[in-house]
Amino acid sequence: MVRSVILTAAVLAACAVFFVFVERYVGGEFGEFYGAVEELYEKTEAGSATQEDARAVRAMWEDKRSKLHVFIPHNDISYLDYRLNEAFACLYTGSYAAALANLEIVMQMAKTVPGNYVIKPENIF
């Protein structure tokens, strides 16, 4: 029985540590991503965003995306991908207003998606 108690406590503790790690990791990754998109948004607003800026954000996102797939449902990531690609396409064609609209959505998602997986009554039920 002692073995079972220790095993249960160990699994529970490991789960708790893992959950804290995941929450911080996902929050941190989205936080960094949000910062990069925000910077791109400001440049776009000022009309100074270039294709290189967009490529840098894309490279950053692709690196983070491959890791976030482990923790976040793939549909959320696909939707973020879609909006980001829309924004980049608009930037490449010089449609800054449309790019801003899509970047705004991406920023909002980067802010809210991690919160969807935090223990809160509205998420549980």
Binding site: S4, C15, A16, E23, I124
Partner: protein, 223 residues
């Protein structure tokens, strides 16, 4: 991830409560929480496996949650005895020396026909072949049998106040004769919990809220 863990725990508790409320008729050879785990674990493993939009990690976390919950329930059962009754239930004595305990049967969502079926599965073909019969917490049936068992199969003539016309015809009794027999005892079919007749003309009669009686009927069919 922690959210998946908590959501699994909520589903587990809800299912466990429902299983306990359903009573023993819905459980077979398993404790309620074991059945809940069996029901959940297959789904939890299957959904992330089949649905590629769900990370596989969600399945792993759910299964880890099930393991932790199983261990917690098991430990609580060991440490806090009253909690074991709440989680797993307790055995129900459905047959005692007075006959069938209708209250215990109803409490477990069972009918007399279910009891007769359980008895047959346990090797007893007459209701008075046992001193005591009980449903264990896991839903299995146990009985303390009498040394001498009836040598004939009993058929149910009245079950829960309803006359089984088919069995009545097979046994060679008429409705008039049955009603006459009941009238002799100042009762009617609707007041009878159970009445069976075996191939030797031996009748087991139990009125609602009364101990059982053994009667003999002449001129019935023999089998």
């Amino acid at each position: 991830m922690a959210l998946i863990f908590v959501r699994t725990a909520v589903i587990f508790l809800a299912l466990l409560a429902v299983m306990r409320l359903m009573g023993k008729s819905q459980i077979g050879e398993m404790q309620p929480f074991e059945l809940v785990i069996t029901l959940l674990i297959a789904e939890l493993a299957c959904i992330p496996m089949a649905d590629t939009s769900v990370p596989l990690m969600y399945g792993v976390i759910s299964i880890a949650a099930m393991f932790v919950l199983h261990q917690l329930v098991w430990l609580l059962n060991l440490w806090i005895k009253p909690l074991k009754t709440v989680i797993c239930g307790r055995p129900s004595v459905v047959i005692n020396r007075q006959g069938i305990d209708e209250y215990q049967l109803k409490k477990n969502n069972l009918e007399v026909s279910d009891l007769i079926e359980s008895m047959r599965a346990a090797g007893y073909f007459n209701l008075d072949d046992v001193y005591y019969g009980l449903y264990e917490a896991n839903g299995s049936f146990s009985a303390l049998g009498k040394k001498e068992k009836g040598a004939s199969l009993a058929v149910t003539l009245i079950d829960g106040g309803k006359v089984n016309e088919h069995n009545l015809e097979q046994s060679g009794l008429t409705r008039e004769r049955l009603d006459g027999m009941l009238k002799e005892r100042n009762t009617a079919a609707k007041k009878v919990l159970v009445m069976t007749l075996d191939g030797n003309g031996r009748i087991y009669l139990q009125r609602r809220g009364r101990p059982y009686e053994i009667l003999h009927a002449e001129g019935t069919a023999r089998w």
